[in-house]
């Protein structure tokens, strides 16, 4: 029996308009390299940091939603090391007195404790011709990211499996997005995760060395990397292989971890209090004000959905699992005025498309008003539910309105009696044998005739009217 012990260190970019210590824009995705820079975030002589109050507000907000203690006294420190992506060759962080202590997140009824949360600044981005700094002929630096505020969240080693680590990350991201603290986008680096893992053999109390895995950049890889490492450590324990405390990287193409450095190469960061910034003193009024700005969180929202929209708990929980999804749902309901109709469509068709196409809700082409159109088309019997299912992927992919698609493709249900009658009369004429059998009592053949009508109309015939006309014509003769 082995017990797995996992702790996470998470860095999340805070959603401020400007950087942590200067007034440069934080929008580093829609900018050309080194567009949002100034003497401060590129470490020129004589520059000093001026703390962005927005970053403090978001850190306090995060502290509150993760049930933490907001420290009214916190302070900044310098973490000293040399690297080209670090403009001043020190990072301003909070080593000795973090802004938030304690806290927890509940995963399936289990509390995962948070040890501390603190503010710090992001580094620049470095690109190497080739792949590594050691072999590159040239390296390039983009300081757009330099100085973007980060919140570092450190958990206690309360996580007991790779899947639990993944669930923790997903829940954390969801809450961060809900409270508009961060985009939580792992692929874009707005949320980053380092994981510590060690293994204990419960039979003989043998413990593996602790391994830190760095640079994990997706939720899937959090689980995969930890699974790989868990297995590797157990194998080592079983084979009695001597282990070292080390830092490993995750190679997402080879699906394995690789050694980066050992404890012996650990840098001495020479932490000391940042003399350029006074201590950060927070008042009760400030903290209360931030508390009052926290909007509805997922659990509350799910409860509201159950009452306001009369949805089952299952639907409500899935729809509120993501803030954007919940917002999208509510907008759709405004147009369709039928919550269950929208909920069914989202939970089956929309979520499937999202998953298959690996898309984000923010980038959807399908618009909330389309759900209103679909509802209208259904209610007025213009399309059948089968047609709805058929055209949904096209609406999703193209962003064309349902009405236009139905019209373009001529998918509108044939309701016109005389038109239907003409088609049915033709079918009766073409199938004299079956008509004969029907008249001789083989009433089951009605289904055959319905099928023929549908074949001829490509499924557009109004089924009710088709039945009526068929019965009338077959019984008459």
């Amino acid at each position: 029996m082995y017990k797995t012990i996992i702790g996470l260190e998470i860095h999340t970019q805070l959603l401020t308009k400007t950087k942590a210590f200067c007034s440069c824009s934080t929008d580093h995705f829609n900018s050309i390299p080194n567009q949002n820079i100034c003497p401060i975030c590129t470490g020129h002589p004589g520059t000093l940091p001026a703390l962005n109050e927005e970053a403090v507000k978001l850190a306090v907000k995060a502290g509150l939603i993760f049930n933490g203690t907001i420290n009214k006294f916190s302070r900044f420190d310098r973490k000293n090391y040399f690297y080209p992506d670090l403009a001043k060759n020190y990072q301003i962080t909070q080593h000795f007195f973090p802004i938030v202590s304690n806290g927890y997140i509940t995963i399936e009824g289990k509390k995962i404790r948070i040890k501390r949360m603190h503010l710090e600044e992001d580094t620049a981005k470095m690109f190497h011709e080739g792949d590594q700094i050691s072999t590159a002929q040239e390296s390039f630096l983009d300081f757009n990211r330099s100085g973007i505020p980060l919140l570092e969240i450190v958990t206690e080693p309360d996580i007991e499996s790779p899947s639990e680590a993944r669930m923790f990350m997903e829940k954390l991201r969801n809450l961060l997005r809900y409270a508009e603290i961060s985009t939580g986008d792992m692929e874009k680096g707005a949320l980053r995760c380092d994981a510590n893992i060690s293994i204990v053999n419960l039979e003989n109390n043998q413990t593996s060395k602790r391994v830190e895995i760095k640079n994990i950049n997706s939720f899937k890889f959090v689980e995969k990397a930890l699974e790989f490492e868990q297995e590797r450590l157990i194998k080592n324990l079983e084979a009695n292989i001597k282990m070292i405390q080390e830092t490993r990287g995750w190679d997402s193409t080879r699906k394995e971890t690789f050694p980066m450095r050992t404890k012996e190469d650990d840098v001495d960061y020479r932490y000391f209090p940042e003399p350029d910034l006074p201590p950060l003193i927070l008042t009760d009024e400030f903290i209360d004000h931030i508390r009052s700005t926290i909007t509805e969180m997922p659990e509350e929202k799910a409860k509201r959905f159950m009452i306001q929209y009369d949805l089952p708990q299952y639907d409500a929980e899935i729809l509120t699992s993501d803030k954007e999804l919940a917002d999208f749902f509510e907008k759709c309901v405004k147009h369709a005025k039928d919550a269950k109709f929208v909920s069914n469509l989202i939970m089956t068709d929309l979520l499937r498309e999202l998953k298959e196409n690996d898309d984000e809700i923010e980038n959807l082409k399908i618009k909330p008003e389309f759900f209103g159109e679909l509802k209208e088309l259904m209610d007025s019997n213009k399309i059948s539910s089968k047609i709805l299912k058929d055209i949904f992927p096209e609406i999703y992919k193209t962003g064309k309105s349902p009405k236009d698609i139905v019209k373009e493709k001529g998918l509108e249900q044939i309701d016109d009696e005389s038109e239907l009658r003409k088609i049915i009369e033709e079918i009766i004429k073409e199938n004299p044998e079956e008509v004969e059998k029907y008249k001789n009592g083989k009433k089951k053949l009605l289904g055959f005739f319905v099928g023929e009508v549908m074949k001829k109309t490509k499924g557009k015939a109004n089924p009710q009217k088709t039945n009526e006309i068929l019965l009338e014509l077959l019984e008459k003769e």
Binding site: P39, P84, F272
Partner: protein
């Protein structure tokens, strides 16, 4: 030459001409850099000089170091900006000890500064160029920086007024950081009146420097103080220190002069001050080792192109920095290392707190503290000392930096033809009180010496 005497005239070209003609030997001005001030400003036509660790957009800021030999400032320091807006014109950047580390101004990559009163002697440092330039009469005032006495000591050696305001009075934005918690811009000039006028213009809270404080009392409005109404203390350490005998005599003369004016002067024992040099030489190099880490050849400044990142860092800094700078970076790096942090740095912070609290308490009781500015007369150029002897030259000036107190050097006569200066230390953020006492002392002492001549 004072601002008062010059107001209304344009002496910019005249001053530049003086520097070109006279400064070849003194070497106080590194470069003429002309940035003309606001033409509608009250002080238009009056030139000033700035120490070469303060940034002025579009001009070089070398810190007297090879590593920034060709560095062009991308922005202007708040203090300089304010002076330009008031009409003053920058005409050049002054020599200094490399990165403000030193007290004889012999640690400059561009050569030492000579004392304008005796060319065989040093100007003092680290703001030696700024002090010598005022002493030589090029400009009515200049800006320097003072981390442990770097404005007051050269002011004393060059016979000018040198003022270090309370920590937080003047924005440090645009001042190359040496030791952030101790650095402060200082003013060198020929009168306390001028000093007050300049500080009044450049003081105040700056959004670009969170360590600035607001100060609302007008520093120029009342510069007279009845000397018979003040209580002065002299720390006993002044008499315990191995003082040059002539300095001791001159200092006693100043004490007698004040007593004759009716001031109450008392010697008090402040044993804590014994530790101030030690504390300073832990805190200042530690902060410096971190502040100077940015000079690495990656983004700007000198780079020794080299194969591999670590070699580039190592050789760039090896070649780019001078010996004293490297010595302090090594000391600071050691002090902050995980194994020694609690033994040195964190202990030094505690002792600094103790010294500061002691000084605040004493200054609740006394109006000012008084010492000689320097325990020695200006040494000869190239006179050999070991680093420790140099460091002890700051014994009397360092406590004001540790506690963030305002302090000023006032010239008081001559010793063997060399300037001698008295230091007054005042109450925190009560710079107006210190300036009033210093001004009254300075003006009455001047009259006294004129009478004797």
């Amino acid at each position: 030459m004072t601002i008062e005497e010059t107001i209304g005239r344009n002496i910019i070209e005249e001053s530049i001409q003086k520097i070109i003609e006279m400064d070849k030997i003194i070497n106080s001005v590194l470069r003429i850099e002309k940035v003309v001030g606001n033409k509608n400003g009250k002080y238009f036509g009056i030139p000033f000089l700035v120490k070469d660790n303060i940034l002025v957009k579009g001009t070089k800021t070398t810190n007297a170091s090879k590593i920034l030999e060709n560095y062009i400032s991308p922005y202007t320091a708040t203090a300089v900006q304010k002076l330009l807006e008031a009409g003053f014109s920058l005409i050049g950047k002054t020599n200094m000890d490399e990165f403000a580390m030193g007290n004889t101004n012999e640690n400059s990559y561009f050569g030492p500064v000579r004392n304008p009163k005796d060319l065989s002697r040093v100007s003092g440092g680290s703001s030696g160029g700024s002090a010598a330039a005022v002493g030589a009469g090029y400009v009515p005032f200049s800006l320097g920086t003072d981390t442990g006495g770097s404005v007051r000591l050269p002011a004393s050696f060059c016979g000018v007024v040198g003022f270090k305001p309370s920590y937080g009075m003047i924005s440090r934005y645009g001042v190359t950081s040496f030791a952030s918690s101790l650095d402060q811009i200082g003013i060198l000039s020929n009168s306390v009146k001028d000093v007050s006028l300049v500080v009044e213009i450049i003081k105040g809270k700056d959004k670009n420097d969170p360590t600035t404080l607001s100060h609302t009392v007008d520093l120029t409005s009342n510069l007279e103080r009845d000397l018979s109404d003040i209580k002065i203390c002299i720390p006993k350490i002044v008499y315990d220190t191995d003082l040059n005998i002539s300095i001791k005599n001159s200092f006693n003369e100043a004490v007698d002069f004040l007593k004759a004016k009716g001031s109450k002067v008392e010697v008090i024992d402040i044993p804590e001050l014994e530790y101030s040099v030690a504390v300073y030489y832990i805190i200042a190099p530690s902060e410096a080792s971190s502040n100077l880490a940015r000079f690495d050849g990656v983004r700007y400044g000198f780079r020794n192109a080299s194969l591999g990142l670590n070699d580039m860092y190592r050789t760039t800094r090896e070649i780019g920095f001078g010996i004293e700078v490297k010595r302090r970076i090594i000391m600071g790096t050691f002090n902050l290392s995980a194994d020694y942090y609690s033994k040195y740095y964190s202990k030094a912070l505690k002792v600094r707190r103790i010294i500061s609290d002691k000084l605040y308490n004493i200054l609740d009781e006394y109006d000012v503290m008084m010492t000689p500015t320097s325990p020695s007369i200006p040494p000869y150029m190239g006179e050999k000392f070991n680093p420790l002897e140099y460091y002890l030259m700051d014994t009397f000036t360092i406590p004001a930096n540790l506690a963030g107190l305002p302090a000023i050097n006032i010239p008081f006569g001559l010793i063997e033809g060399l300037p001698f200066g008295i230091q007054f230390i005042g109450r925190q953020m009560k710079d107006e009180e210190l300036l009033a006492i210093a001004n009254t002392f300075h003006e009455s002492a001047k009259k006294e010496f004129e009478k004797n001549v």
